[in-house]
């Protein structure tokens, strides 16, 4: 396993401004995230977990400081460059799946490929593979409303990995699922990490979920502390 740094954060400061109130979430954060890691982030509500994921994924920007993806600085990219960055390198997985209700599972997974100019055959191959990985090949023509929560989340994972991103950002991916289904989803993520060497950052409130990761960090008052796995 390589230990090169996938993400480097330097002197990051993030302040949310709501009306006249300034809310300091990160003061001066420095950290590295290595390629191939599977990090679980835990922490109290409002501590800034989602904010961190948004900045890493290029949908939010730090107030000051620098974020590097491999060697490239991403915090000062234009909106268009960030869009392209997300399309190429990042896969997102949300708590509420956020699938397109009018598209089948297959078409939902296909969405990110619309942004590439792969041949039709390549696209089909990639979609089939992604659906196979999440073990949902038999449901490809179903619409989201015809799927269970766990199945919908698996479609969302397939969508996140179909374009072969370097990093998966998951915000409470099992927050809406029962224990058993949650374990299935976490198993899929673990598999993606171990077999396909995908770097994963997962925000969760569930200590059991954190157990699937290689490293659990606890976010509190703008600082990440390594948490001992019990």
């Amino acid at each position: 396993m390589t230990t090169e740094n996938l993400i480097t954060i330097k002197n990051l400061k993030k302040t949310h401004i709501k009306g006249k109130q300034a809310l300091n979430i990160f003061h001066d954060l420095n950290m590295h995230i290595q390629t191939g890691n599977f990090i679980a982030i835990m922490g109290p509500s409002g501590s800034g977990k989602t904010t961190m994921l948004n900045m890493l994924g290029g949908i939010d920007k730090p107030t000051s400081g620098e974020i590097y993806f491999k060697e490239d600085r991403i915090d000062n990219l234009s909106e268009n460059e960030l869009t392209q960055f997300r399309a190429m390198h990042v896969g997102f997985i949300f708590q509420f799946y956020n699938l397109m209700p009018m598209l089948t599972a297959y078409n939902n997974v296909e969405l990110p490929l619309l942004l590439t100019d792969l041949s039709k055959e390549d696209k089909i191959k990639k979609i089939k593979t992604a659906l196979e990985i999440v073990n949902l090949s038999d449901r490809e023509s179903h619409y989201p409303r015809e799927l269970s929560g766990g199945q919908m989340q698996r479609v969302a994972i397939a969508r996140a990995i179909v374009s072969n991103p370097d990093i998966l950002l998951c915000d409470e991916p099992t927050g809406d699922l029962d224990r058993e289904t949650a374990n299935e989803i976490l198993g899929v993520l673990k598999l993606l990490n171990e077999e396909l060497n995908k770097t994963i950052i997962m925000v969760t409130h569930d200590p059991e979920a954190a157990r699937y990761s290689k490293l659990t960090l606890h976010l509190d008052k703008g600082e990440f502390n390594q948490k001992e796995l019990s």
């Binding site: 869009t83 392209q84 209700p101 078409n107 619309l114 942004l115 969508r159």
Partner: protein, 386 residues
């Protein structure tokens, strides 16, 4: 799957709503297509007028007569290529409601001036030879099932003949076709000579003169020459281009263009409001989906194009069938009112302007929602509860 597929899926995911919008657009474009064709048919008399044709009428009013002698006097004026005259016969076939646009004319000069009447040479010869012959338009021949050689009685609601009746007997000698599709083929042309000899009053008077000038640039000068020739006589004249004459006649009916413009504007304003607002709302409902697409990496141009295509697709889905239907309606109406309103067709320019309007309307209805979608903030949009 393509972006277009996404657009289609978005529209189909709210079938009733999309259907209603398409219906609304459909109706507006039917109104547009039919009314605009009507307007142009009303004005086709102006557009089809010969550029170097002048009409000379009695200065008092065109229903007042002119002496027959004027025909020969005008013919001698310099710069004139041809001159002919006509007299309104007030014709009808069998019953007054089957009215016929009937003119008593000097046939050979008439056909020289109205070159848009296409007559077969042998039929023309037969018509010129037979004083009791009649030349009828294709439309009217079809309508009354007249063919060459048929004896047709035509009555007048103005004149009576020496036998004491209002009906003259004619033989169909020729049938003319129009040079253009809009050319009026509802006219009936009879020999002035026959009519003049057999009527009981108003002899040796004609209705108006039609003058063909050598050059359209001479129109004004020649009109003045004609009118000054008869100045201070008992029958003063007023000469104008055929198109000015036809325009004045349309204006007598009323400001039809204004009425049509108003109705069309109202129809378009309605769709602008209904479709615009609905699109705005529909895109608002999809905030979260759009945010996800942006997260996945759809750039602003794609998002913008996607929303604009939706409104374009809606407009086209309503507009194109509407124009086709309007075409059908106009053709059906042509059978009913073609006699009163010759040239009732759907002109190509109506089709073109409809398409321009479709584009304009789709831009107007799509631009604000599309702009909103582009400006949408991913973080706040994702934060929203479903």
């Amino acid at each position: 799957m393509t972006i277009f597929y996404l657009v289609k899926k978005n529209l189909l995911s709210h079938k009733i709503r999309s259907f209603l919008l398409v219906l609304c657009i459909f109706v507006a474009f039917i109104v547009y297509g039919v009314l605009k064709s009507f307007e142009q048919a009303m004005h086709s008399g102006i557009e089809l007028s010969g550029t170097n044709r002048l009409v000379t009428v009695n200065r008092i009013n065109f229903t007042q007569p002119l002496p027959y002698a004027y025909y020969n006097r005008v013919a001698n004026i310099e710069g004139i290529k041809n001159v002919t005259f006509a007299k309104w016969f007030g014709g009808y076939y069998q019953e007054p409601k089957n009215f016929l646009t009937t003119f008593a004319v000097e046939p050979s000069s008439w056909l020289n001036v109205f070159k848009e009447f296409i007559v077969k040479p042998e039929e023309k010869r037969a018509f010129l030879k037979d004083k009791k012959g009649v030349l009828v338009g294709r439309n009217i021949a079809n309508k009354h099932h007249w063919s060459i050689g048929d004896n047709v009685p035509i009555s007048s609601n103005i004149y009576s003949n020496k036998k004491g009746g209002h009906t003259w007997d004619f033989t169909v000698r020729a049938i003319y076709d129009g040079e253009k599709e809009q050319t009026d083929t509802n006219q009936v042309i009879i020999h002035y000579e026959y009519f003049n000899l057999s009527k009981t009053f108003g002899k040796d008077f004609i209705g108006w003169l039609v003058v063909l000038t050598k050059d359209a640039n001479l129109n004004e000068v020649i009109a003045k020459r004609i009118d000054s020739l008869f100045n201070n006589s008992a029958y003063e004249t007023r000469t104008a281009t055929e198109s000015a004459f036809n325009k004045a006649f349309i204006e007598q009916i009323g400001n039809i263009s204004l009425i049509i413009q108003s109705v069309v504007s109202v129809a378009f304003l309605t769709i602008l409001m209904v479709v615009g607002n609905t699109m705005y709302l529909a895109v608002g409902e999809r905030t979260k989906e759009l945010a996800v697409l942006k997260t996945i990496g759809f750039n602003n141009r794609l998002i913008f194009n996607m929303i604009m295509s939706e409104s374009l697709l809606l407009t086209v889905a309503g507009g194109i069938p509407a124009i086709i239907c309007a075409y059908g309606i106009i053709n059906a109406l042509n059978l009913v009112v073609g006699g009163f309103l010759p040239g009732l067709l759907m002109p190509m320019n109506v089709v073109f302007t409809s398409i321009l309007w479709m584009i304009l309307l789709s831009v107007l209805t799509g631009i604000f929602p599309a702009y909103n979608a582009v400006k949408l903030n991913i973080i706040t949009a994702l934060h929203k509860n479903q």
